[in-house]
Amino acid sequence: MNPQLQGIQNIAGTYIFDLRVSNRSLKLNKFFWSLIDSDARARFVADEETSMKNAQLKEEQKVLIRARDWLGLIQNGANFFALEKFARVVKMSNMQVYAIMRGESFEEFLATRQVPDAR
């Protein structure tokens, strides 16, 4: 255990992205990262399955992507900053993704914020 992270397992709802996770999920994050290229975005929109196959994703990862299961993807090793590239492609805002990860409707989530219009 990295001594800088000692006790991290006691912070609920938090998934630390370390080298073990990164190595296990490298293809998944590489797939999301590839979407900063506009051609890759267009290919994904045109044919999701072929894009995922070419990225050599595991079936469990494809299931999570098809379901737009944002929390499940994080739990599977997605790094949020790679994942947010995917959110842009499927026209989800970060705020919408936040609400889903918290298990709330968008309206419920906004009601917890001080200035919900700042988006």
Binding site: N2, P3, Q4, L5, Q6, G7, I8, I11, A12, G13, T14, Y15, I16, F17, D18, L19, S22, L26, N29, K30, F32, W33, L35, I36, S38, R41, L71, I74, N79, F80, F81, A82, E84, K85, F86, A87, R88, V89, N94, M95, Y98, M101, R102, G103, F109, T112, R113, Q114, V115, P116, D117, A118, R119
Partner: protein, 299 residues
Amino acid sequence: MAKIIGGIGTSHVPTIGVAYDKGKQQDPAWKPLFDGYKPVAAWLAEKNADVLVFFYNDHCTSFFFDVYPTFALGVGAEFPIADEGAGLRDLPPIRGDVDLQAHIAESLINDEFDLAVFQEKPIDHGCASPLPLLWPHKPDWPGTVVPIAINVLQFPLPTARRCYRLGQAVRRAIESYPKDLRVVVVGTGGLSHQVHGERTGFNNTQWDMEFLDLLQHTPDKLTALRHVDYVRRGGAESVEQIMWLAMRGALGTGPVKRLHQNYYLATTTAMTVALFEEDEAAAALGDPSSMASDQPIFA
């Protein structure tokens, strides 16, 4: 000789860039944020800053985890602003001073700070979100940027203390550059926020205020904290505040004064900007309040 004339801490929330591009400066939900940067922009203009050294992080945009540098310094006369998945922004490329960047790299590496160097890489919102709130960009940016990317995404991250020492080494690098340049150091990120997992939306204003206070007066208390302490107090992604410590390290070991601060927690990130200068008057008086404070750290 080149000289550091001040330091800025600023959030780098991507939504700031989106709101800026959509012209929401007068929108009631955004006005408190944009107005909070005006005194900093005015100070930069008044001081004629030539260079901004940006301690920022790339968000898996120009760097991917196949090669992810702990510290990386950008060298180039121009850096494009990155397309992060939502298209290109209407901003001119960031300008760079290759001779200064090369000097800083040489100085840091000879000083045993063996960082990586990148060239021709786009710069993402880690730097580009706050930049147009600090400097005008029409017809072009008024000065050059030294981008220094820090890994705050993939653990193991550099320690808080290592970031502070990076700032100290950058100070030595700048002070050994022979041209008369006025340099401002910028630390980006934070303050409290978490944007992944069920704990998304976590904030802690009490800790944010304590962080700002410790940063100014007793940064050694912040450099002693572990990453897990930042995660617990400010939310997982607030660990990026270690980049503010690099800025603070570059301001030297004497007392500093805070000329301006704006704190706006609207949705998920405590959007903050703070402006610091070295306090030469307090230093001349031997002001003990600078590094000798004893205040407890909020746990």
